[in-house]
C-alpha cells in the first residue's frame, strides 16, 4: 500500500506466528478502548484512503462484497451472501445479503454496489485504487471518463453481475479490498469531496465524532448485519501522540493499543522486559524491502554486475542494525506469500566472489553510482549500511536522501536513479496473492515513465507467463497457478533486477485489558488490530 512507513511498527498482510497469550473463553461485549496515533487520519473515504492507518479504520466503517476471516488471509463472504463464477471465468454473479442497512438507515441494494464501483473507477474520484479494476469490462472507457463501468450490471435488488474482459484469478481479492467498499450515493453526493470526513457505510462501527488533529470516536453500529459484532461499544482514536508517549501511556494503562507500534529506540528495552512478554504479539507480514537496480542504466544493464551487488550485501548485519525487526530475504516474495520458494537459494553473501565477478565483467576498478533513499529515519541509516557493503567490493555509491515524492519521481524516469532503497515506500501487498507483487513493480506495465517498476526490468516472456497464470481462474488449478508464480519470481531473481534485503516483522503491543485470538492482533489486513473482533477481558 502506498505511504506505508516501514519499521514504524506497522504492517499490512500478516499472519500470527508468535505464541504470546492465548485468549480466554467467550468474548465479552461492551466497553471502550483507546488507540493512539501520531498523525491525524487523512481521510475515511474508502475510494481515497490508502495508508496503513486508515486502511483498517475504513474496513470497520465499510464493507465490501468479500472479506478475509479475521486473523487470516482466507477469503470469506461479506456483503455477498453467495457468488457464482461462469464457466468461462468471465462473469461473477454476487447475491447480496438481505436487509443490510447503511448507517443512515437505508437498505443497501445491488444498485449501491454498481454505484460504488462506477465511482471508484471514475477519474473524477481520483482514487489511487482505480487500477485494481482493470480486468472489469468497460474499465478503459470508465478511466477515460465515461462515468460508468459497463461490465457491472444490476440484475435485481439483491443480485449484481460483474463481467470481466479477461480471466482474472485475483478478481475475488479485488472484491475484498477497501476500494470496492459499498457506499450510499445520497451520502456521497451530499458531502461531495468531504465524504472522507463524513463517512457513511454498512460497517461494524460508524463515525460518531472527529475533531481534526485531536480525536475520532467510532460507535458500535447497532444494526450491524453480523450478529454479536462488534464486541466493543466504542473505539476512541487519539491522534497527535508521539509513539514514545503512546508506549509510556500504554505501560501506565491509559491506552489500549499504540497504533504506531513500539518505537525503534524502545524496542529492545520493551522486548527484553519479561513484564511485557504477554503484551507483544509478533507476526510476519507480506512485505519485502529491496534495492532496485536500474537495468537500463550502466553498469546495471550487465547481469554480472547485478549479481555481484546481490552477493555484496550483508543482510544479517542490516537486520541486526534494526534490532532484529526483520528477517533476511533472498527473493522478491515474502515467506508468507503463496508462491514463496523455500528451496530457492538466491545469491549468498560472498564479497570475494562478488569482487571477482565484477572484475570479470570489466569493473575490476569498481565504479561510481547513486543510491536513492527516502529521507525519513531509519531509511538513510539502512542506506549507509548498504553503501559500506558496496564500498567493500569497490562500488562507490553516493547517497541521495530525498523526500519520498522525489524518490518516487526519480524511480519513474528511465535514466535517473541507478539504485533505490525501497524502505519507507516499500511494497506491502494490497492482497495476499503473488500477482500483486508482479505487475506494477516487476512487470513491463510498470516499466514506463511515471511507473513504479524502478528497476525497469521488463521481460516479455515472463510477462506472458504472468498473464497465463492470472488467467487460471478455476479453483482446481490453484496449486498449479501457485507453482507458475513461484517459478516466475525465482526466474526474475536469477536475473537480479532487485536485491531483496529483508522481510519486515510486525510487533503489536496491547494493554492487559484487551483480549482475543492472537491472530487479530497481527491481522493481515486490519492494522494494528482487528477492530471488529477485539474485546475487553471479562467484566472490564
Amino acid at each position: 500500500m502506498d505511504n506505508k512507513k516501514i519499521l514504524g511498527g506497522l504492517a499490512a498482510a500478516a499472519m500470527a506466528v508468535s505464541v504470546a497469550t492465548s485468549s480466554s473463553a467467550e468474548p465479552t461485549n461492551g466497553g471502550s478502548m483507546i488507540v493512539t496515533y501520531k498523525d491525524d487520519v487523512s481521510t475515511l473515504d474508502p475510494a481515497i484512503g490508502y495508508d496503513w492507518q486508515n486502511w483498517s479504520m475504513i474496513k470497520s466503517l465499510f464493507d465490501s462484497l468479500l472479506d478475509y476471516k479475521p486473523g487470516t488471509t482466507v477469503l470469506t463472504n461479506d456483503l455477498a451472501e453467495s457468488y457464482s463464477i461462469s464457466e468461462d471465468g468471465l462473469t461473477y454473479t454476487f447475491v447480496l445479503r438481505e436487509g443490510v442497512k447503511f448507517h443512515n438507515g437505508r437498505v443497501m441494494t445491488a444498485a449501491d454496489v454498481k454505484y460504488s464501483l462506477d465511482r471508484v473507477t471514475n477519474p473524477k474520484t481520483q482514487s489511487p485504487g482505480a487500477g485494481f479494476f482493470a480486468s472489469v469490462k468497460g474499465f478503459d472507457e470508465a478511466s477515460g471518463g465515461s462515468g460508468e463501468l459497463s461490465g457491472v450490471t444490476v440484475v435485481d435488488d439483491r443480485t449484481v453481475a460483474i463481467e470481466l474482459s479477461r480471466p482474472d484469478a485475483t478478481f475475488l481479492h479485488v472484491m475484498a479490498i477497501n476500494f470496492s467498499s459499498v457506499v450510499p450515493q445520497e451520502a456521497v453526493e451530499q458531502w461531495g469531496e468531504d465524504f472522507g470526513k463524513h463517512p457513511v457505510g454498512t460497517g461494524a462501527f460508524s463515525l460518531a465524532e472527529w475533531s481534526l488533529g485531536q480525536r475520532l470516536v467510532f460507535a458500535k453500529n447497532p444494526d450491524y448485519y453480523q450478529a454479536g459484532l462488534p464486541h466493543l461499544d466504542e473505539i476512541v482514536f487519539e491522534v497527535g501522540q508521539e509513539p514514545v508517549v503512546a508506549l509510556l501511556r500504554l505501560q501506565n494503562g491509559e491506552v489500549d493499543v499504540a497504533g504506531d507500534g513500539i518505537p525503534p529506540a524502545k524496542f529492545l528495552e520493551v522486548k527484553n522486559d519479561p513484564e511485557y512478554a504477554n503484551a507483544i504479539v509478533e507476526g510476519s507480514q507480506l512485505h519485502t524491502g529491496y534495492i532496485s537496480l536500474n537495468v537500463k542504466m550502466k553498469p546495471f544493464d550487465n547481469l554480472a554486475v547485478r549479481k555481484a551487488v546481490n552477493m555484496a550485501i550483508n543482510k544479517d548485519r542490516i537486520v541486526r542494525m534494526i534490532n532484529g525487526r526483520a528477517v533476511p530475504a533472498n527473493q522478491p516474495l515474502p515467506p508468507l506469500m503463496p508462491g514463496y520458494d523455500p528451496d530457492y537459494k538466491g545469491f549468498a553473501f560472498d564479497p570475494e566472489a562478488a569482487k571477482k565477478m565484477l572484475a570479470e565483467a570489466g569493473y575490476g576498478e569498481g565504479f561510481e553510482t547513486e543510491l536513492y533513499v527516502a529521507n525519513t529515519d531509519p531509511q538513510p541509516r539502512i542506506a549507509q549500511a548498504i553503501q559500506q557493503d558496496l564500498a567493500a567490493i569497490g562500488i562507490k555509491a553516493e547517497i541521495k536522501s530525498l523526500a519520498q515524492a522525489n524518490v518516487i519521481a526519480a524511480g519513474g524516469e528511465e535514466d535517473q536513479a541507478p539504485m533505490i532503497w525501497s524502505g519507507g515506500m516499500a511494497w506491502i501487498a494490497d492482497f495476499p496473492d503473488p500477482s500483486n507483487f508482479y505487475g506494477p513493480i516487476l512487470g513491463c506495465g510498470g516499466a514506463v515513465p511515471g511507473g513504479w517498476n524502478w528497476s525497469w526490468y521488463c521481460n516479455e516472456e515472463i510477462d506472458a507467463r504472468a498473464v497465463k497464470a492470472d488467467a487460471m481462474t478455476n479453483p482446481a488449478d490453484a496449486a498449479e497457478r501457485e507453482a507458475m508464480w513461484r517459478k516466475i519470481f525465482t526466474d526474475i531473481q536469477d536475473e537480479a533486477p532487485w536485491v531483496p534485503i529483508f522481510n519486515e516483522q510486525r510487533f503489536t503491543i496491547r494493554s492487559d485489558r484487551l483480549d482475543g485470538p492472537d491472530g487479530i492482533f497481527v491481522d493481515p489486513v486490519h492494522i494494528p488490530v482487528h477492530y471488529d473482533t477485539v474485546y475487553l477481558k471479562g467484566g472490564q
Partner: protein, 282 residues
C-alpha cells in the same frame, strides 16, 4: 592587530575566539586526531542485538546506531560546520552587500525593485523557504551552502542598504559628486571602506546563524547527505534514542552550541570595538 588586541582584552570575546580557534584546529587536524574513519561501521560497535555502545575505553564517546565511533564523527563534523559556515555566509554577504550597495547607491528604479524584493523575502518564512529549496535540488554539501545563502542574504542586504543610503547622503560625498568624481570612485574610495566594519561584524555573527541553520536542515533530514557527518545529521540519525542513549544527541548538540556561541561572542565583541554606538542591538 588593534582589533585583535581589543578582542583579547574582553573576556567573552577572548573566550569565543578560543572556541573558534579550537574548532578550526580540530577540523584541520581531524585525520590525525580521529581514532577511526568517521564513516566506518564497526562490527564491535554495536551490541549483538544492534544497540549502540555507551562511552567506553575503546570508543571514548560511545558509538552511534550504525556502530560508528561518535568521537571521530564529531571531529569530522567540525569540518562540515566550518565549511558551510564560511562558504554559505560568504555567499550570503556577497549577495546581500551587492544588492544593498546597488540599491542604496544608485537608488532609482533598480534600487526600489531590489529593495521591494528584499522586503518580500523578509516576509518569507525562512525555514519553509529553505525546505522547499532543498526539495528542488539534489542535495550535496555545496547545495546546502547555497540554500542557506539564498535564505540569509536578506538581512545583510537590509543593513548594507540603509548604511549606504546614509553614507551617500553625507556632505563630503555630495561634494565629491559636484566635483565630478565618478560614481565608481566614490563607491570604492568612500563608501566601501565604511561598510567593511558592518561586513566584518556580520561575517562573524552570520556564521553562527549559518551553523544553526545547517544543523536544523540536517536535523530535518534535508541537509548534508550521509555518510558525511554533520553535527545536525548526527542528531537526526540518533534522536529517537535520546532517552536510552543521550550521549548520541547531547554531545553533537553541545558542539553546535559551542561553535555558534563562539562566533556570537566574537561578533558581539567586534561590534562593540568597531562601532561603539550600536550596543547590544540586533
Amino acid at each position: 592587530m588593534r582589533v585583535l588586541k581589543a578582542l583579547l582584552r574582553r573576556k567573552l570575546g577572548a573566550f569565543g575566539l578560543l572556541v573558534i580557534f579550537m574548532t578550526v584546529a580540530v577540523a584541520f587536524l581531524a585525520p590525525l586526531i580521529a581514532p577511526y574513519p568517521p564513516d566506518l561501521q564497526l562490527f564491535e560497535g554495536l551490541t549483538l542485538e544492534g544497540a549502540p555502545l555507551p562511552p567506553n575505553s575503546q570508543f571514548w564517546l560511545g558509538t552511534d546506531l550504525l556502530g560508528r565511533d561518535l568521537f571521530s564523527r564529531l571531529i569530522y563534523g567540525a569540518q562540515t560546520s566550518l565549511i558551510i559556515g564560511v562558504v554559505a555566509n560568504g555567499a550570503a554577504i556577497l549577495i546581500g552587500s551587492l544588492v544593498g550597495i546597488v540599491a542604496g547607491f544608485y537608488r532609482g528604479i533598480v534600487g526600489s525593485i531590489l529593495m521591494r524584493f528584499t522586503d518580500l523575502m523578509m516576509a518569507f518564512p525562512a525555514l519553509l523557504l529553505a525546505i522547499v529549496l532543498a526539495a528542488i535540488f539534489k542535495p550535496s554539501l555545496w547545495i546546502v551552502a547555497l540554500v542557506i545563502a539564498m535564505v540569509n542574504w536578506v538581512q545583510v542586504a537590509r543593513v548594507i542598504y540603509s548604511e549606504t543610503v546614509s553614507l551617500a547622503e553625507r556632505d563630503f560625498i555630495a561634494a565629491e559628486r559636484t566635483l565630478g568624481a565618478s560614481p565608481l570612485r566614490i563607491l570604492l574610495k568612500h563608501i566601501a571602506p565604511h561598510l567593511i566594519y558592518s561586513t566584518i561584524v556580520f561575517g562573524t555573527l552570520g556564521i553562527s546563524t549559518t551553523v544553526l541553520l545547517e544543523a536544523t536542515l540536517s536535523f530535518l533530514g534535508i541537509g548534508v547527505q550521509p555518510p558525511t557527518p554533520s553535527w545536525g545529521n548526527i542528531i537526526f540519525e540518533n534522536q529517537t534514542y535520546f532517552a536510552s542513549a543521550p550521549w548520541l544527541v547531547f554531545l553533537p548538540g553541545f558542539a553546535i552550541v559551542s561553535l555558534a556561541l563562539g562566533f556570537n561572542l566574537v561578533g558581539d565583541a567586534m561590534r562593540e570595538i568597531l562601532d561603539p554606538t550600536m550596543k547590544g542591538k540586533h
